[in-house]
């Protein structure tokens, strides 16, 4: 009798309840052990050190101001992102034109550019002598809170656009058609029918933009100047410890205090939004027929589209890509050959780039393996309705933890557990924790879209659980797996805050670029900085293009 193949053996084993429960338990245990608990427990371990900061009222006041600034920026920026991102998403989802594909791709630009590069690019655009300030004779936005808000608006914008475009593409247009046949002009139809129906996606977009703003560190460090929000405060404490301005206990106390406050308040806001959001009703009862009719048709619609595109180009795309300008200049000097030869600072640059890609690749593989079973648990409610919903909420925790706080907490936790914890492993764990929700969110939504009846049909035809996954679920979700994997990869590549918190020896490219911008070594000129950023943008675009080409068969999504 021929030996059964490995595939058949694994399929057969997947029917076994102990194996199945073991797999799901491992996925949940790994999530708690690697993603959820370390950031929280790291803070808990050093809890007592908070006493040190309470003895210094000035420091407490400074920390509270920083935390307040974080939330103020996040709340304002998320609201503005929603207000400006929704019309853009509407344009992308509803218009049929080749140019829309270009707009669609461009709207992802800020998301995939490493945050440190993004910060530098915005600084050049708004503040530099060759930027938009040149048109006005003086810097438009100097380093400080206004530039920080512009930055946070820019990198949260694609998150909002992507979520709302997905919602509009999934949304059944028949509801809007029904509204139009009943006499509602397009604006009324959108306001009273479409937006209430996609409200969960509006809430999700707001939460994602908010948490992106709260957690962002790398780019903020570049543009903040004297402005201090939570992540900047934590990094400044690290710098002050290095210069001897504060002691280790004070440093520990201040970062635990700031991290805990950021995490706790973020979670509180997050839970409040989730609980109150569904009860919040958009205004649909009152209509204003003649006014809404006026703003529905061509002139008003054209004006709206024009303003949307101006904001998109002038405040999102151009600032994001502005860093490539010095890169073009560098092409015509000896900077390019010097960069390619690896001399001077470029040796470290290329090493850091390789390190970044190895790190991102490793993190992606780990997240796909860990995240797939978790996505199924959440999507198919394997733990029952209540527990699965609770797990669904907990998966989002790393999204709202500021990346620098997450990094600090992770470093504390693992170093407390194992004295000389390898730095590379710490880096991997930090990046896994930060990027895990992106993959699981994307994957669980995709699994939910696969009808249970398809899986049932497969089972009645004799397929074992693993076979059902392999032959039905996987083919129908492969583009979401790809999309989720690419989000993880690019997010890891762009991650700066947690990276700064956990590393002292290893220097991924995001750390190198932050150094070049904030404390440039003597041999690093602006052309070099531009070229270094340009290489990173180029590689990021290549990844985005690969995503578009691979996803081409399924349309944009």
């Amino acid at each position: 009798m021929p030996k059964p193949s490995l595939k058949k053996t694994l399929d057969r084993l997947s029917s076994s309840k102990p194996i199945k429960y073991g797999m799901y338990s491992t996925a949940i245990a790994t999530f708690f052990a690697l993603v959820l608990l370390p950031p929280i427990l790291g803070i808990a371990i050093k809890w007592a050190s908070m006493q040190e900061i309470f003895g210094q009222p000035e420091l407490v006041s400074r920390a509270l101001d920083a935390i307040r600034n974080s939330f103020a920026v996040a709340l304002v920026v998320s609201a503005v992102d929603l207000a400006t991102g929704v019309p853009m998403a509407w344009l992308i989802a509803r218009r049929k034109s080749r140019w829309i594909n270009i707009l669609d791709t461009l709207s992802d630009v800020p998301f995939i550019i490493p945050t440190a590069v993004l910060g530098y690019s915005l600084l050049l655009y708004w503040n530099g002598p060759e930027g938009v300030s040149a048109l006005f004779g003086a810097p438009l936005l100097s380093q400080g809170w206004l530039l920080v808000m512009a930055l946070h608006f820019t990198f949260s914008y694609p998150v909002v656009v992507r979520v709302i475009v997905g919602a509009l593409l999934d949304y059944k247009k028949e509801f809007e058609n029904a509204s139009r046949t009943l006499g509602a002009p397009p604006f009324t139809a959108s306001r009273t029918v479409t937006f209430p129906i996609i409200k969960p996606s509006l809430i999700a977009a707001f939460i994602l933009a908010f948490s992106r703003s709260i957690s962002e560190t790398g780019a903020t460090l570049v543009v903040a100047g004297a402005f201090e929000n939570g992540p900047v405060f934590i990094q400044n404490m690290k710098n002050e410890l290095a210069t001897g301005k504060i002691t280790q206990p004070v440093y520990d106390g201040s970062i635990v205090f700031a991290s805990f406050a950021l995490v706790a308040i973020s979670l509180g806001i997050f839970v409040a939004i989730r609980l109150l959001g569904p009860r919040f009703k958009l205004p649909t009862q009152r209509v204003f027929p003649s006014f809404e009719r006026k703003i529905s048709y061509s002139k008003a619609a054209s004006s709206r589209n024009t303003v949307t595109l101006i904001i998109f180009v002038a405040i999102v795309v151009l600032p994001s890509l502005f860093v490539t300008l010095p890169a073009f200049q560098a092409l015509f000097t000896d900077t390019l050959p010097r960069s390619l030869s690896g001399t001077g600072p470029w040796g470290e640059y290329w090493q850091s780039l390789v390190l970044s890609y190895v790190l991102a690749g490793t993190v992606t593989v780990i997240n796909v393996i860990m995240g797939l079973p978790m996505a199924i648990i959440v999507a198919r409610r394997k733990l029952g309705k209540f527990l699965s919903a609770a797990l669904d909420v907990l998966i989002n925790v790393p999204l709202v933890v500021p990346s620098i706080a997450l990094g600090v907490s992770l470093a504390i936790f693992w170093r407390q557990s194992i004295a000389s914890f390898p730095e590379m492993l710490l880096l991997i764990f930090a990046h896994v924790a930060i990027t895990y929700p992106y993959f699981v969110r994307s994957m669980s939504a995709a699994v939910e879209r696969v009808g249970v009846d398809l899986e049932e049909a497969s089972r009645t035809l004799g397929a074992k659980p693993l076979g059902v996954f392999r032959t039905v679920v996987l083919p129908l979700t492969k583009y979401s797996i790809l999309s989720g994997a690419i989000m993880v990869f690019t997010r890891s590549l762009s991650e700066t805050g947690a990276t700064l918190a956990v590393t002292s020896q290893l220097r991924p490219v995001s750390v190198v670029l932050v150094d070049w911008v904030k404390h440039p070594p003597p041999q690093v000129t602006p052309l070099e900085i531009g070229l270094g950023c340009g290489f990173l943008v180029l590689f990021s675009f290549a990844i985005l293009l690969a995503l578009r080409l691979l996803a081409k068969e399924k349309g944009r999504y």
Partner: protein, 367 residues
Amino acid sequence: MPDVRLVNVTKRYGKLVAVDNVSLHIQDKEYFSLLGPSGCGKTTLLRLIAGLIRPDEGEIYIGDKLVNDEPPEDRDIGFVFQTFALFPHMNAWNNVTYGPKVKGFDMKNAETIGHEVLEMVKLHERITSFPNELSGGMMQRIAVARALAAGAKLLLLDEPLGQLDAKVRNELRYDIRKMTKDLGLTAIHVTHDQSEAMAISDEIAVMKKGRIMQVGTPQELYMAPKSIFVAHFIGESNFLEGYVSDMDGSEVTVELRGGIQVKVIGEAEKIGEKVALAVRPEAFSMQKKARKDGNTMTGTVERVTFEGTNIRYEVRLENQDMIVIVKPSMIGEWCSVNERTSIGFPEDKAHLFKYPDAGLKEEISVE
């Protein structure tokens, strides 16, 4: 009250011609059905009238007004969707009063209309229910009420009963027709169910591959189909192939396979022309003794199916053609399997068609 005219209307999706040069006139207050197989263009035509899509060529008039450039909200229509399309975030009352509100009706007026239409569809007690709390039949009645409450004079229904079970479907179709007649509306109803169309329509347009094959009353379509497709799609028909052997005024002699000669009333081009005869199953007579007059053939009964009201016989003719005969079960003697029987049909109950170039199978195909 509007009539609806379509003049040479065409709609393409890339290379596919969904609606192919259609001209149609639907009278004021008429209950008109667009009937055809899936993919024939009937829903596309309805959506063109509604303004949800625009024609590539041709003109659409509602009343005397050319509406090609008018958006749906300005065409004064009510549309009932196959999927109901009830707004999930609004209860029945808010769904029904949505149209009057967005059109700027006075609030009191809107409420009065809302109550009236909900009484009409007998769902007044469910006004606070949300769509996910209603059955399919209830949702469809709310959808109809919503379309009526908007005050439109032209009601467009896109397979409104397609999602419902048979019993509810049979009840609701008459209710919808009655409501539109009581309100004096013009209605255009899309369906693929011929019994539904035949039961409630004043006139029906049969469509195939984007084209109108025939427009007529249910009786006209059934009794006098003008094409093989209509003869096959409406009701049931047996098709007998043969050649014209003689013509005498309107009486045409056709030689079927095996040399069987039959006479029919119809028009042929020339002797020797290949033709197809369509004969309804109920038009045949069966008797055990050989017939001597009229069109006669012999055959052997191969299958007998009792269908309650009728008996259905599958009979192999002497020339090996297979036909279906349907007889009332309460009248006459029954034949049994393997019994030889003499079969006839009246001259004027057969429909003579030129044999299609593409073949019979292709002509009656619904794809």
